[in-house]
Structure formats: structure tokens, C-alpha cells
């Protein structure tokens, strides 16, 4: 093993040698720099390897054999090894990345870079305060040097401001160290920490305060961080990577080392400062338009989060390292990657990242880094966040958890908004000059390599953390692997991938179907078999369809893992995966960028509610099986229920949190809409099912929570149906209709009786079938007509008869008119209602029922009936692959209509387990409940016979009917002019809107718009603190120090 000292020595030596070289020998100098950094990296790596493979105790090193300040006291442990490896790697990669810049600037710049890396490594390794100060000084000076060497003219100012602030910090630190040395007589950190009494009072306390506040200030806490952001914005992105990934990590490690000096009292301070920084930085990042400044805010925020975690070390116990390191390396890898990526992009606006679209791999790296930052599975941050939530909730620190989750949500907001811009917007500069391949992108192997390294590191760390988590590595889960395989296979033509996908889904179902109970089997069938049927429509898309299959399969993987999950962690991981996959899917739509954003935000919000709920339920227990929810006791149980229900409600788009759905479903691609509507929504219902199965109904302040759900379900049904009536866009109409249908299903579940659940199951099956069918059908029509506005269509029945049949069957089924399957749902609904004690929500439900007729008729009339338009006269039927699944659905609907028992009977029997009372009786073809009876086959036959008889009679008496064309109508003796003026379609239900008045105003939309406006305005307001003036920044710092001191006094 090479001594850790060589890390420092190599850097120093190389820097010294660089000074000896002649200015012209830049190539050699650069080689030397790389060699030194490479050597340092190798040393760290060997240490990491050693610690990881053998149970080696930490090694203490005293350079001159004497205690500090006369020599350097270093320690090499697992943490140090890992962090120095990180720092050195970042340094090496940055040096590589900076090749052109360094060669141009010459050996002095290389020396400064080496010194900076050395200082950071020293900061990590050192165990004594004085050298901490020395390395800090070195770091400050070299950092300033690096900044000043940057090409940006603003960097000069930024570097100067940085120097001012870091000198203030150094002074504080030095004074603190002097006092502390005076009081304790040692400079060793551990030595000081062992004498807490000395540092608790008088000068000692001030000393401790000064030391800690200086270190914390070096972490750029809010609001004393204006200067830092100027650096991020103006410095070379490679430096940005070093500051964010390496400096941040080093300083936070230093804080972590030193914090014991202050004793337990300092932990809340660290937490408070950290969480405030996290929240406000993310808030401030919201209105940013400069990518590097945004990254800067995010970095500051992330370090704040780690600081908050450091402050919680007392409760985190063994998982402390796992969590802190997880967050730290997440930030480091992602930030380094993002800064490097930003260096390849010439423009600074967020939309400029759209040039990444030319390089799918770069885009993949981008999205990977974003997911790593937000802490989505399967990356380290996800595991860390789960453990953090678990432990915090176990200690009852829910407020902190809430703040962390809120901050993460805001962070996800601006990060995914950025991603949306990159995917969907046109880069601003694109207007000028001809577009060339690679325009706006500066690439080269030396730039690509570090980014690739970060990418590999991100996935590698994900794997590592999965292994360390002890909860089963997500990256080893078969469904996820299958989905990720499509990333590798993305070069294949779409039809091959489609076949693979269908094969995978059906194959997995066939392999596993016996493992599910009847309820889960229904969901599995919808997710897997249903997904395959929808995927048939994807054969329609030609070409390679980059990105579609990984996203879709990610969603399906999440769905499958959801129903296979047995414990809370698996459930939550699956939930996040499916959310992520569906987000990418939705984002693929042409105009779906804002809607996809609102989808991911609501979904993540919901997911965090679920996380909090599970954490609360677990009470710190390492494993929480889903059945374990049943054992949660009062007074916790209702809160767990509320949190989980809230999370699931965002997925079922219940009223209030429904506003993401219409846009997301409507703007998605033709074959994606049925996936996200017919399939994805069921995930929320599955969640409810799990929740209600295990927890039953709960009371909060005397309010029956299922009763609240009942109201929410009924109101969702009403609001969804009502809003659907007034849509002009066919897919939006269907989307709102989904809200209503999910409302019915939720209502059924919340009834908490046998038939209610059966009704919900019926709705789940039916909704999957007819909503998929309708979305495909409408999508096919939209594809042919080039519009989704219903009033622009009309009279398509003769040209697209199969699509018409699908819609016809679909609307008969939705409206519940016998003899199709929707009636079964209604029949069970009535019986379930009669079985329950609720009264008033029924009124809402009954009101919502007939309203469905309104929008359904509108859908079929304005699209297929009425007047055909000029430009649509030559339209063909929708493509075969889009029609095929529709016809399958038609067949399924008819079969389910005649023999509902095929499925329902098993579910009915299974539900006896939960509700022994009130099941159905199946005698022959008759289905009867306690109240009534129903014979689907008889109904079908009777209606069929009457219909056929009358039809035959009409055919006979009307055999000479003359077929006429569309303008052969009576028109008050006039002749119709154009189809546009003869087709009654726009604002179809004007009198209805007039009659209902206020009921039709979109209150929820306004509420959420108000919230986002408020957040943005708050961010804007706080940003005014940052004037860009160095003096102001110094004042901020002092004010921060004083404020923390006063708070400390108070506490």
C-alpha cells in the first residue's frame, strides 16, 4: 500500500516540477499533470480497494512524527479513501476535459489545478485543525486562481468576490483555531472532540463557534452564498465541476470531522442551516434561466441537504454513512457530469440544451444525471432518501422530512422543466444561420470521456448502493433489467423492439401468472397482457423510435414490480420507476412538455407523500412488509392512511390533484395515451386496494377517512364528467372522462363492502378496455385528419367505419346501457350502494351518471356523424395496427358483456375473504345479489332478437330507400353552403354551460397555478438579495454568522 501522503506529495512534486519546465513545453507539462493526477487517483483507488476488501482499521499518519502544528496529521479511512478518490478522479477528468484550455494557459494553470486538487485531498485527509486551515487557505487561493484564469470576463469579478469572502472565513477560522488550541492544548480534531467540556463555555465556546461557523460558511449556506453562484456562472464548467463535486464534498467532510468539537448542540444548527439552504437554493433556482447558475444553486442546495443529514447523524446511526455518502456522491457525479455537459454547449440558456438531441447518448447522460440528482431509483440518492425518511420518521422528525421532500420536489420541478426544454424546445440560436449537424455542441474525446466516466459512475454507484442497501438490488430486478436492455438495443428497428417488448410482457405473464391472487392477477393481466395489446398499435410507427421502448418498458417494469412488491421499499421503488417511465413516455408527445412536467411534479409529490407515509408507518423498522400496514396503531394509523391515500390520489387523478391528467393524456402519442390512461391509472387504484386491504377504514378526529374518499370519488366522477362535456379536443375529452371513471372506481373501493370492491374491479377492467380502445380510435382519427379538435371533423363514419364501431361500442359500454358490459358495472354499483350506509355522496354520483351521455354523444357525433369536411373527403380508415387492437377490445367487450362471470366470479369468491357478507350468487346464467338479479345472456339474446326482427321489418318496408349525400337535407328550403357551417359541433353544450354557471369554472387549475406563481415570485423576491456586489456578499456572510450566533445563544 502506498502511503496516503503520496497523494499530497505527488501533487506538490508535480507542481514544483512544472515550475521548472520551460513555458514552451506545454505538452510535456500537461502530460506531467495528468500523470500526477493519475497517480493520485491510483493511490486513492488502492486504498478504497483495500478498505473494501479487508477489514483494515483507519491508518493515522504523522509526517514528521510530531504532533501538529509542526507536522501534518493525516488519517486514511474508508471515507477518506473514497472521497479522495472522488476528488482525484474529478480532478483527473477535469484536467482531461480542460486539455485545450490548459495547453493554452500553460504550466501555471496546471500547477494551480494540481494544488487545488491537493488542497481538497488534504482537507479530507487531515486530522488536525491547523492543517485544516492551511488546506483551506490553499484551496481558497488555488480556487481563486482557477477562477481568475477563466476566459469569462465576469470571472475576474467573481474571483475577487470569492477572495474577499474566503478571507473573512479564513480569519474567523484562524481565530477560532487559536482560541481552541489555547483552551484544549491540542490541534487534533479527535483530541478536541474528546474534551467537550473545555469547548462548551467561555472562550472555548466562542472558539468552537468560530471554527464551525467558518467551515459551514465555506459550504455556501443560504443566504451567504451569492458569491459562490457568480463563480458557478462565470467560471469554466470544468472548474464548476471541481467546485461542485470535489470542493463541496471535501468541505462537507471537513465539517463532518469538525462537528463533534461543538458537541451535540451543534447538530440542530447544522440541520437548520442545511435545510434552509436546501429549501431556499431550490426556490431560487426556480426562476433561473442560465444553466450554470441553476446548477450552482442546485449544488449549494445539495450540499445543504448533506449538511442537514450531517446534523442528523445522532439519529441516523449506522446508516449515516450510507445516507450521507449516497447523497454526496450523487451530487458529485451528477454535478460533475452536468457541468462537463454544459461545457459542450455553446449557448447558456436552458433551452440551448436542446442541441443534445443530436446526440442520444449525451441526452441519456443528461437524463441520468438529472435522475441521480433528484434521487430516483435505481441511483444512490434513492436508497439514501429511503433510509433517511425511514430513520427520520422513526425519530418523529416529520417536519424535517417534509422540508427535505418539499425541497426535493422543487428541485425536481426545475430539473425536469429543464429536461423538458431540452427535449421539446427549439434552441434559441437555431434561428440564425443554417443548422448544421453538431451546431451548438463542442465535443471531442477528451470532453466525452469524463462525461462517459460520470455516466458509468452513476450507474455503477447505483449498483453499489443497491448492493449496500440490503434490500435487494433494484438493478438486479428482472423487469428493470429487461427495460434497461432496451437502452442497449435502441439501435434496432422499432418493429423488432416491439416484438421483443410484446414477447417480454406476455412471456413474463405466462411465467408468473400462477403466483398472483385473483385481485393481483387482474392487475397483472391488465398491465402485461393489456400492455401487449396496446403495443400492437406501436407496430404502426416506422423507423427506430429512439427512446420509446426504454421508457415504455421502464413503466411496465415499474408496474410489474408494483404488484410483485411485498414490502414498502419494493412498492415505493416500483412506484418511482413507473412514474419515471411514464413521464418519459408522456414527454414524447408533440406539445406535451408543460403537461409532462406537471405530471412528474404531481406524481413525485404523491410519491413523496407515499414515502412519508411508509416511513411513518415503519417507525424506523428496517423492513416494512405491506401487510404490516395493518399493524400500525392509533394515533399514527390515520395519518399513514392520509399520506398514502394522498399519494395514490395523485395517480388516479382524483379531484383537486387531477389537473395534470388532461394535458398529459391528451398530448401523448397515439399509442401512449392508452398506456398512460388505460394502464397507468390503475397503479393508483392498486395502491388504494393495497391500502384498504391492509388498513381498512380509519378515523381521524372522528371523521371516517373512507367516507372522505367516498366524497372525493363522487366529486371526481362529477368534475371529470362535467369538464369532459366542455372540451373541444377529443383526447382531452377522453382524458377528463378518465378522471370521472377513476372517481367511480375510487368510490367503489371506498364503499368498503363486497359489492363496492367488485364494482371497482369491474370499472378497472372496463375502463382499461374501453378507454384504451377509445384513445386508439380517436388517435387513429387524429392521425388521419391531422387535428384533435372535434369541430374540425365530422361525417367520418363512412370513411372510417371500423374506428366508428370501436367508438360506438366504447360509448355504449361507458354509458352503462344494456346489453354491453358497462351495465354490469352499473348494476353492481346500485347493489353496492344499497348495501352501504352512505347517502349524500350518492346524489353526486347519480348526478355524474347521465352527464357521461353528454360528452360521449359529443364524441361520436361531432367526429363521426354530421357533415364531412372538404379536406377529409379522401381520408382512409385508420392504419391496420391501430385498428387491430380496437377490434380485439370490441371482441373482449362483447365477451365480457355476455359472460361477465369469466372474471368476476373468481374475484367475487376471493373477496369473501375480506367481506364475507354481501357477495353475489351465480346460478346458471343468472347473477343475483341480496336485492336483485341480472341475466346477461338473456338480455343480450332478447335485445338481439327484438333488434333483428325490427331491422328485418324495416328492411322489408324500406327496401327502396334511395341513398343520398350529405347536403341532401331539408334546410328550410335553402341549400346548405359549406359543411363547416352546417356541422353543429363547436361549443356543443352551450345551454348546459349556461345552466350550470359557476360549477364549470376550473377551480383546481387556478389553485395550482396560484401555488406555482407564488413559488416563482418567492424565488424572484429572494433573489434580489444577490446584488452581485462583493461588499454586499461580505455583509451577508457577517449577518449569517451573527444570526447563527444569536440563534445558538437562544438555543
Amino acid at each position: 500500500m502506498v502511503s496516503a501522503l503520496y497523494i499530497l506529495a505527488a501533487a506538490l512534486g508535480a507542481a514544483f516540477l512544472l515550475g521548472l519546465l520551460r513555458e514552451e513545453r506545454r505538452g510535456l507539462a500537461y502530460g506531467l499533470t495528468l500523470a500526477a493526477l493519475g497517480f493520485m487517483t491510483w493511490v486513492s483507488a488502492t486504498w478504497v480497494w483495500a478498505f473494501a476488501t479487508t477489514a483494515l482499521p483507519p491508518v493515522e499518519i504523522f509526517t514528521a512524527g510530531t504532533p501538529p502544528p509542526f507536522a501534518i496529521n493525516l488519517r486514511m479511512g474508508m471515507g477518506e479513501a473514497a472521497l479522495t478518490l472522488l476528488v482525484n478522479l474529478v480532478g483527473l477528468a477535469s484536467a482531461l476535459y480542460l486539455k485545450e484550455t490548459l495547453l493554452q494557459l500553460g504550466r501555471r494553470a496546471m500547477a494551480v489545478l494540481l494544488i487545488a486538487i491537493m488542497a481538497l485531498a488534504g482537507l479530507i485527509l487531515t486530522r488536525d485543525l491547523f492543517n485544516l486551515f492551511v488546506f483551506m487557505e490553499l484551496m481558497a487561493i488555488s480556487t481563486a486562481g482557477l477562477i481568475l484564469l477563466s476566459a469569462d470576463s465576469r470571472a475576474l469579478g467573481a474571483g475577487f468576490k470569492y477572495l474577499i469572502v474566503s478571507q473573512v472565513v479564513s480569519v474567523l477560522l484562524l481565530i477560532g483555531i487559536i482560541f481552541a488550541y489555547h483552551v484544549t492544548g491540542t490541534l487534533n480534531i479527535d483530541g478536541m472532540a474528546q474534551a467537550p467540556a473545555l469547548l462548551a463555555t467561555g472562550i472555548g465556546a466562542i472558539a468552537a463557534f468560530l471554527i464551525l461557523i467558518a467551515l459551514i460558511a465555506e459550504l455556501k449556506p443560504f443566504p451567504a452564498n451569492g458569491w459562490a453562484l457568480d463563480i458557478y456562472e462565470s467560471a469554466h464548467p470544468a472548474y464548476g465541476a471541481i467546485f461542485s463535486a470535489a470542493s463541496g464534498a471535501a468541505v462537507i467532510f471537513a465539517v463532518d470531522k469538525v462537528l463533534p468539537i461543538g458537541g451535540a448542540a451543534w447538530l440542530p444548527v447544522a440541520t437548520g442551516v442545511g435545510i434552509a439552504t436546501f429549501l431556499f437554493s431550490n426556490l431560487l433556482a426556480l426562476p433561473q434561466t442560465n444553466d450554470r447558475r441553476l446548477l450552482g444553486y442546485s449544488s449549494v442546495g445539495q450540499i445543504g441537504l448533506v449538511l442537514a443529514v450531517v446534523g442528523q447523524r445522532d439519529v441516523l446511526g449506522e446508516a449515516y454513512g450510507f445516507i450521507a455518502f449516497g447523497l454526496l456522491v450523487s451530487n458529485a457525479v451528477a454535478k460533475a457530469g452536468l457541468f462537463w455537459l454544459s461545457g459542450t454547449i455553446e449557448q447558456r440558456g436552458l433551452t440551448a440544451w436542446a442541441v443534445l438531441r443530436q446526440r442520444p447518448l449525451a441526452l441519456f447522460a443528461f437524463v441520468t444525471f438529472l435522475c441521480v440528482l433528484v434521487g430516483l431509483p435505481p441511483f444512490p440518492g434513492f436508497y439514501a432518501k429511503w433510509e433517511l425518511a425511514r430513520l427520520l420518521a422513526g425519530e418523529g422528525r416529520m417536519a424535517l422530512l417534509a422540508a427535505i421532500l418539499l425541497g426535493t420536489l422543487i428541485e425536481a420541478g426545475y430539473l425536469f422543466r429543464w429536461f423538458g426544454y431540452a427535449i421539446k424546445r427549439e434552441p434559441e440560436a437555431a434561428a440564425e444561420g443554417p443548422r448544421m449537424q453538431g451546431a451548438g455542441l463542442a465535443t471531442g474525446w477528451n470532453r466525452a470521456l469524463p462525461i462517459a466516466a460520470a455516466l458509468v459512475a452513476a450507474w455503477g454507484l447505483g449498483f453499489l448502493w443497491g448492493d449496500l442497501s440490503g434490500r435487494g438490488n433494484l438493478l438486479l430486478a428482472l423487469p428493470l433489467l429487461f427495460a434497461l436492455a432496451f437502452l442497449v438495443l435502441d439501435w434496432l428497428p422499432a418493429w423488432v423492439k416491439n416484438t421483443l417488448a410484446i414477447g417480454g410482457l406476455t412471456g413474463f405473464f405466462l411465467l408468473t401468472w400462477q403466483e398472483y391472487d385473483p385481485l393481483r392477477l387482474i392487475f397483472a393481466a391488465i398491465f402485461l397482457i393489456g400492455g401487449s395489446v396496446i403495443l400492437l398499435a406501436s407496430y404502426e410507427t416506422k423507423g427506430r423510435r429512439i427512446g420509446f421502448y426504454p421508457s415504455a418498458m421502464l413503466m411496465y417494469a415499474g408496474l410489474v414490480m408494483l404488484i410483485r412488491a411485498t414490502d414498502a421499499f419494493g412498492f415505493f421503488a416500483a412506484w418511482e420507476l413507473l412514474t419515471l417511465g411514464s413521464y418519459f413516455l408522456i414527454l414524447r408527445g408533440k406539445h406535451s412538455e408543460p403537461h409532462a412536467l406537471s405530471y412528474i411534479l404531481f406524481s413525485l409529490g404523491g410519491a413523496f407523500a407515499i414515502l412519508a407515509g411508509f416511513a411513518l408507518a415503519g417507525q424506523g423498522a428496517v423492513h416494512l412488509p405491506l401487510d404490516g400496514l395493518a399493524k400500525v396503531a392509533e394515533p399514527l394509523a390515520p395519518w399513514v392512511f392520509v399520506l398514502l391515500a394522498l399519494g395514490f390520489m395523485t395517480k388516479t387523478a382524483s379531484v383537486g390533484v387531477h389537473i395534470w391528467l388532461p394535458g398529459a393524456h391528451a398530448e401523448a402519442e397515439t399509442d401512449v395515451s392508452p398506456m398512460v390512461s388505460g394502464i397507468l391509472l390503475k397503479a393508483g387504484l392498486y395502491g388504494f386496494l393495497v391500502l384498504l386491504m391492509s388498513m381498512g377504514s380509519q378515523r381521524l378526529h372522528g371523521v371516517e377517512l373512507t367516507h372522505v374518499l367516498l366524497w372525493i370519488g363522487a366529486l371526481s366522477a362529477l368534475v371529470g364528467n362535467l369538464m369532459a362535456v366542455f372540451q373541444e379536443d377529443a383526447k382531452r375529452l377522453l382524458a377528463y372522462s378518465s378522471i370521472g371513471q377513476m372517481g367511480y372506481a375510487l368510490f367503489g373501493l371506498a364503499l368498503m363492502n363486497h359489492l363496492g370492491w367488485l364494482m371497482a374491479i369491474m370499472f378497472i377492467i372496463n375502463h382499461y378496455v374501453y378507454k384504451s380502445m377509445l384513445f386508439l380510435s380517436v388517435g387513429g382519427v387524429a392521425k388521419r385528419t391531422g387535428t384533435r379538435d372535434m369541430y374540425r371533423m365530422g361525417g367520418l363514419v363512412k370513411l372510417m367505419p371500423l374506428s366508428f364501431i370501436a367508438v360506438l361500442i366504447g360509448i355504449i359500454a361507458i354509458s352503462g346501457v344494456p346489453p354491453l358490459s358497462g351495465f354490469g358495472g352499473r348494476w353492481i354499483t346500485y347493489n353496492a350502494l344499497l348495501d352501504s350506509e352512505v347517502r349524500l355522496p350518492i346524489v353526486i354520483l347519480f348526478l355524474a351518471g347521465p352527464i357521461a351521455f353528454l360528452y360521449l354523444f359529443r364524441l361520436i357525433h361531432t367526429v363521426f356523424l354530421g357533415q364531412l369536411k372538404d379536406e377529409h373527403r379522401r381520408i382512409k380508415e385508420a392504419p391496420f395496427w391501430i385498428v387491430l387492437p380496437q377490434m380485439i377490445y370490441v371482441a373482449v367487450l362483447l365477451v365480457v358483456a355476455v359472460v361477465p362471470g369469466l372474471v368476476l366470479r373468481h374475484v367475487d369468491n376471493y373477496l369473501d375473504r375480506f367481506f364475507p357478507q354481501g357477495g353475489l350468487e351465480w346460478t346458471g346464467t343468472v347473477i343475483s345479489s341480496n336485492y336483485g338479479y341480472w341475466n346477461p345472456i338473456s338480455i343480450m339474446v332478447i335485445v338481439g332478437v327484438i333488434f333483428a326482427t325490427l331491422f328485418a321489418w324495416l328492411l322489408f318496408v324500406n327496401r327502396r330507400a334511395q341513398p343520398v349525400k350529405q347536403f341532401n337535407i331539408v334546410f328550410s328550403g335553402e341549400r346548405p353552403f359549406r359543411p363547416e357551417t352546417t356541422h353543429f359541433a363547436w361549443n356543443f353544450f352551450a345551454p348546459y354551460r349556461k345552466a350550470l354557471g359557476f360549477l364549470t369554472t376550473p377551480l383546481a387549475t387556478r389553485f395550482w397555478e396560484g401555488i406555482t406563481d407564488l413559488l416563482h415570485n418567492a424565488g424572484d423576491l429572494v433573489r434580489r438579495l444577490y446584488t452581485g456586489n462583493g461588499q454586499t456578499y461580505a455583509y451577508h456572510l457577517l449577518a449569517f454568522v451573527v444570526a447563527v450566533y444569536l440563534i445558538r445563544l437562544g438555543a
Binding site: E871, K965, V970, G973, R978
Partner: protein
């Protein structure tokens, strides 16, 4: 059956009034023509009926010819009576007992129809009622003078009624122009344009006369003699020629289904 809608250009200047016109007292008006009309009026085909190029959603352009694409081009055919005489007799009885009048007042006579609905005359008891759409009506009462513009609408409505259908000319104007005999804008003989079953003379005929006229129509129907619709189909070309002779801007298909 194609509709000719090429523009017809009337040569101008056209000077009318070579013979001195008489004023009411019979004195000759001055022969001078200080402001003789000298303008050329061009009849343009209706824009909405012109052929037009349309671009489909797939970007392919194609031609739309409204008269062919939007209207049924078939002509009327003679519809045979029921195969069995007894059935046709039953139908004729029912037709005579169920006369549905199209609610379309073409002239001032329309006001004379209204009293028929009132308690004093109560035409409903004879099986007569009014329908608002030609599809369901089978009696078209031309109530008084028929201007050329209205004639166009009347033809459309008549053709949209179903066989068998009947026409009653109400008032002298439908017979020979009546007091509008010298009008520049009303037709003088209704039966040149539509097959008339019954005329009810008078200016205006009283409601009693109308009821009597309907009774006569019923007798015709019962006797199977009210075959106006088939007559129209048989002599379709003759009727069309008459109609087109006075309707100069024929802007609809030849037969309005």
C-alpha cells in the same frame, strides 16, 4: 344529370321601352329616355358550388366538385303502387285520412291557413295537420302568389317530400297570376312548375273553401288519382325546363333529394 352553371352574359346596353308607356290616365309618357339603363350584369356561379382544389391532411391535393360530391345525382323515379289492390286501397284510405301539410307559407294566402287550426274550423278532425319538415309532409299548399325566388325554395321543398305527395294551389294567383298577372316577379301558372292536384280559387278563398278543397283532394286520393309525384317523375324534363326557364341562376342540383 349535370347542372349548367356557366355564366351567362347579357349583352348590353339593353334599351327597353320603345313603345310609349301609358300612365294611369292613359296619357302617353314622354318618349324621351334620359336615363336609359346601360349596364352589363354578369351572372356568376355561386362560389360555394364551384369546383375547388382542397389539400387533405396528408398534403395531397384533390378536387372537390360540390354538386357531385355533396348531392345525390339520381333523378326521381315513378314509384309503383302496392302490388295488391286491396293494400293500395287501404293505403289510399290512410293517405286521405292523414294529410300532413308542409308548414311553408309562400304568399299572402298563408294567413288564411291559420284559421283552420282554430276551434272554429278545426281541420284536425279531418286528419289534417301541419308538419314543419318536408320529409314528413305530403301536402304542399302553395298559398297565393309565388315569386321566382320563392319558387326555387318551393321546388326544393316539393322534391324533398316523399311519394305520394300532393300540391294544392290556393288562390287565384296560383291559377293565372290573379292580381299579379302583370308582375315582373311572380309566376302565373303553377302547374307549369309543379304538378297540382287541386286549385282553390278566390282572392282570398275562405277557410270553408279550403276545407272543401281538401275534401276534394281526399276524394282524388281515395280514387287513386292523386299521382302528382309520379307525374312529376314522368314529365321531369318538361317540368325542369319550365322551371329553369324562369329561374335564371339555377344553383342547386336538378333534383333535390
Amino acid at each position: 344529370m349535370k347542372v349548367e352553371l356557366e355564366s351567362r352574359i347579357v349583352e348590353g346596353p339593353e334599351v327597353v321601352g320603345v313603345e310609349p308607356a301609358l300612365d294611369l290616365q292613359g296619357k302617353a309618357l314622354p318618349a324621351v329616355q334620359p336615363g336609359a339603363y346601360s349596364r352589363t350584369v354578369t351572372l356568376m356561379p355561386r362560389a360555394e358550388l364551384e369546383r375547388r382544389m382542397v389539400k387533405g391532411p396528408d398534403g395531397v391535393e384533390f378536387e372537390v366538385e360540390p354538386l357531385r360530391d355533396y348531392y345525390c345525382e339520381a333523378g326521381p323515379t315513378v314509384m309503383p303502387a302496392a302490388y295488391l289492390k286491396i293494400v293500395e286501397d287501404l293505403f289510399n284510405w290512410a293517405r286521405s285520412r292523414s294529410i300532413w301539410i308542409l308548414g311553408f307559407g309562400t304568399g299572402c294566402g298563408a294567413i288564411e291557413m291559420r284559421p283552420l287550426m282554430t276551434p272554429r274550423f278545426d281541420a284536425y278532425r279531418f286528419g289534417i295537420q301541419w308538419r314543419p319538415t318536408p320529409r314528413q309532409a305530403n301536402l304542399f299548399v302553395i298559398s297565393g302568389y309565388l315569386s321566382v325566388k320563392t319558387l326555387k325554395r318551393a321546388i326544393r321543398c316539393y322534391e324533398q317530400m316523399q311519394n305520394p305527395k300532393y300540391v294544392v294551389g290556393l288562390g287565384s294567383c296560383t291559377i293565372n297570376g290573379g292580381m299579379y298577372w302583370d308582375s315582373y316577379n311572380t309566376i302565373k301558372r303553377l302547374d307549369d312548375y309543379l304538378p297540382v292536384d287541386v286549385y282553390i280559387a278566390g282572392c282570398m278563398p275562405r277557410p270553408e273553401a279550403l276545407l272543401q278543397g281538401f275534401e276534394d283532394l281526399k276524394k282524388l286520393i281515395r280514387a287513386g288519382k292523386a299521382e302528382g309525384a309520379n307525374q312529376y317523375a314522368e314529365r321531369f324534363d318538361w317540368y325542369k325546363a319550365n322551371q329553369k326557364q324562369i329561374i335564371h341562376d339555377w344553383d342547386m342540383p336538378d333534383y333535390n333529394w
